[in-house]
């Protein structure tokens, strides 16, 4: 059991629907149980509004459950967030340091990786300019180049697999797949089944905030497709 990193047991998360006295609450997650072991690559599938992103934020430790239990080994868990803490009037370099610190890196580690970040984002002299002068594509290049430097024990990915123009999409996608293939523990949320099929060995299927099935990739996908077919929804 020592390789169990995170274990969720009947976890529920409630949000306030409106900001007013006596407003209603809704349960974004109602009853989800899942176990994540070291080195595992877990994919999370489900329709829109099933609670996939909320689940990732519980695993990341950002959200505390309103019911159920979360047990976690002393490991670092990080959601792959792009442009975290980016400030328009700061240079690409300063934003890289700030964002790296927010993602949990030590300053000396970011400074040591600055040249790698600069090379990866291919922004040239713009790296020293305020990011207010960047196009949105350039900002995403910088954001991805910083985020890919973070190496938590458990990497959590919510749809972000590649960004930027076609060329950079390929580069960023390759870098991320390489990172996922290095034996890291990964949880991936995606609407693209092909990506989950290609990258994950286990799959959790959730629906309306409840875990429906968790297990080997092919078994879960088979059941999921059968359900989509029966309910008439497009696969």
């Amino acid at each position: 059991m020592s390789d169990v990193l995170i274990e969720l047991e009947n976890v529920g998360i409630a949000f306030d629907a409106q900001r007013r006295v006596g407003g209603n609450r809704f349960w974004a997650l109602e009853d989800v149980s899942v176990t994540l072991r070291r080195g595992e690559r877990l994919g999370v599938i489900g329709r829109n509004g099933a609670g996939k992103s909320t689940l990732l934020r519980v695993i990341a430790g950002i959200l505390t459950p309103d019911r159920g239990r979360v047990r976690r080994a002393p490991v670092s868990c990080q959601l792959l967030s792009l442009a975290l803490g980016f400030t328009p009037h700061l240079s690409g370099r300063d934003n890289a340091i700030l964002s790296g610190l927010m993602l949990g890196l030590r300053r000396r580690d970011i400074v040591a990786r600055l040249s790698a970040i600069r090379d990866f984002c291919e922004l040239g002299e713009f790296f020293e300019q305020p990011i207010a002068s960047y196009s949105s594509g350039m900002v995403m290049r910088l954001a991805f180049s910083v985020a890919i430097q973070v190496e938590p024990d458990v990497l959590l990915i919510d749809e972000v697999l590649s960004v930027g123009d076609a060329e950079f999409q390929q580069k960023s996608g390759t870098a991320l797949r390489q990172r996922m293939g290095e034996g890291h523990t990964v949880v991936l949320v995606s609407h693209q089944e092909q990506q989950i099929s290609a990258l994950c060995d286990r799959v959790l299927w959730i629906e309306h905030g409840k875990s429906v099935l968790e297990g080997a990739r092919d078994t879960v996908f088979e059941a999921y497709h059968r359900d989509l077919h029966l309910s008439g929804a497009p696969a």
Binding site: I13, F15, D16, R19, R57, A60, G61, I62, L63, T64, C77, Q78, L79, S81, L84, G85, T87, P88, H89, L90, D94, I97, L98, L101, M102, L103, G104, L105, R106, R107, P130
Partner: protein, 253 residues
């Protein structure tokens, strides 16, 4: 973990100051120009028109407003920091205290710049340096703790109750007038004066003016009491933020 958070707070403070400088054409000059304009307005009303200021009104006003500006900035900027950073809090696990602390440190650095200028002005108009200056760090620590404590409490509650923002400015204006910032408490008749002197901010104002204008050492008993209150306010603020922290990632700005 702790060292990482210290690095994050320090670099964010630097980033905040740099970004603020870059946001306007005059940049750093506004740090001084804005309080100077405010001082000018009070001097016009109380010093020139109403003539209620007294002989030392200008230095008294300069000291009072410089100190008050620092405290007010900590309460408002720090107080809105968690609320303003909710999008970030939804994405990353960080102690929410980081955000108000960054704002308060940035405001403290700005205060030191303005205070250095204030000292030069005071020396030029006939209030030279004196031995009591050595007590200033203690007074400043107490001022920071009172302001930070109030700022933490506001920071804790505003995300849950954003409507509070409309009230805070008014409350701070009342507190300013009750704390002898723009007039001396000595001008207030008894027994109201004794009541107003129970206000810790008024005690800190008088202590700073005594040091800078008259070379007087602060009233140690009074300063100790204020410091105890300051630490208590600060601890309450930290505890409230810590208590409400799990609710922030679920809130919208």
């Amino acid at each position: 973990m702790r060292q990482h958070l210290i690095e994050l707070v320090l670099f964010s403070t630097y980033a905040e100051l740099r970004a603020e400088r870059a946001r306007s054409y005059l940049g750093l000059i506004w740090w001084v120009l804005e309080p100077a304009m405010q001082m000018g307005a009070y001097w016009l009303v109380f010093g020139l028109i109403l003539k209620t200021g007294g002989p030392d009104y200008l230095p008294m006003l300069l000291i009072g407003l410089t100190l008050w500006q620092w405290m007010k900035s900590c309460v408002t900027h720090g107080g809105y920091a968690v609320w303003m950073n909710l999008p970030l809090i939804r994405q990353v696990q960080l102690p929410p205290l980081v955000f108000p602390l960054v704002q308060m440190l940035a405001d403290t650095i700005k205060f030191f710049y303005i205070f250095a200028l204030l000292l030069v002005i005071l020396w030029c108009v006939g209030y030279p340096p004196n031995m009591a200056y050595f007590a200033l760090p203690l007074v400043f620590v107490a001022v920071f703790l009172v302001a930070a404590g109030a700022g933490f409490v506001v920071a804790a509650v505003v995300p849950l109750l954003p409507d509070l923002r409309f009230v805070i400015e008014q409350v701070l204006t009342v507190v300013m007038f009750l704390s002898g910032v723009v007039f001396s408490l000595k001008a207030v008749p008894s027994p109201m004066r004794e009541v107003m002197e129970l206000n810790p901010i008024a005690v800190l104002m008088e202590a700073t003016r005594g040091i800078l204008m008259r070379g007087e050492w602060p009233n140690w008993v009074g300063l100790t009491k204020v410091s105890i209150i300051s630490v208590a306010v600060c601890l309450i603020g930290v505890a409230v933020v810590a208590r409400l922290a799990p609710r922030y990632p679920k809130l919208a700005t």
